[in-house]
């Protein structure tokens, strides 16, 4: 009898747990960070805010003797909503949170284009662990190359 009651209690607890998780899943909002860096072969030095990003000191980014942080944008990503960040060259980076994967990573889609155009980076999909960055680089700007770092979650 006691075991049966405990069994019912267990089932009740699991159902409550699922209900709480279900409500939370519908309102998933994840913080994100966009870094817009200008890499250049003229001059030297790295912005102090970029010093901790080891990846930027590795090939191919190490070919840039100078790295300046042009913009840092904190964003909130929400499933079903697109977030836009304006780039220095007039294009827009558009990022959308698609889903949270079972392994804890986030699936996001990223595109870079001018408004109404679809020429530079139509779309890419990335699976990103919380806090780990990925980069989109190659756009020419101001005598250097833009390196865009994206971090999803913390």
């Amino acid at each position: 009898m006691t075991a049966r009651v405990l069994g019912y209690l267990t089932a009740l607890c699991f159902l409550s747990l699922l209900a709480v998780r279900g409500v939370a899943a519908q309102t998933l909002v994840v913080p994100g960070e966009i870094l817009i860096v200008l890499g250049s072969s003229e001059g030297e030095g790295i912005d102090p805010q970029l010093e901790k990003i080891e990846a930027l000191r590795k090939p191919p980014f190490d070919t840039f003797t100078k790295k300046s942080l042009l913009k840092r944008a904190e964003v909130k990503l929400e499933i079903g909503k697109e977030t836009e960040v304006e780039l220095p060259n007039g294009r827009k980076l558009r990022i959308s949170l698609l889903e949270k994967l079972k392994d804890g990573r986030f699936r996001v889609s990223v595109s870079i284009n001018r408004s109404g155009q679809r020429d530079y980076l139509p779309v890419m999909t990335v699976a990103a662990a919380p806090g780990d960055p990925f980069f989109v680089a190659g756009q020419k700007h101001g005598g250097g190359t833009l390196v865009i770092g994206v971090r999803v979650g913390k």
Binding site: V20, V123, V126, A128
Partner: protein, 189 residues
Amino acid sequence: MVSSRPKTTTMATPIDDDTLQRYYDGDLTPLEEHGLALRIESDADAQLRLSQLAKLSELFQETATELAESVDSSALFAGIEARLARAEPRGFGERMRVITSEWVEHRRTTLVPLVAAGAMAAAALLVVFRPSPEAPREQAQGDGAMVAAVHGTQIENVDFGSSTGTVFEIEDRGVAVAVVWITEDEESP
């Protein structure tokens, strides 16, 4: 007129429990094993007892890990002994049934409170530590502590459109960092 002949049957010596257990454990010599396998093929009772042995073994393996830290083995064996004494089982099969039922009963009484306590604790944690509306709600979803964390970033697909580009990975403190490099020869207007 139909003549009837008396039916003759040969009674083979029953396979004893110990031999069957050693057969199941793989402790017999190859010759003994081969001979016993032939006998088991035509012995329904031995087949039944063998399947019970397999079932019991499977049951033990299945629960050994989850109970490794929680089971009170002394209580379990005391329970089995007491149950055997009460039931006074005659055959092998009956003994197996007594042991299995005691094992199942022990599992139920040991695990149910543990699982219930764990679930209640998890639910309580979710309620107590539910983040405030200002805090990032990402934490509220939780991600299941049982899932191993996967690090790094991975490009799943890229549509370069009319551009050309490369996808590669670099390492940052042992974590894979995905990079998409899109070739652009001239600064865009």
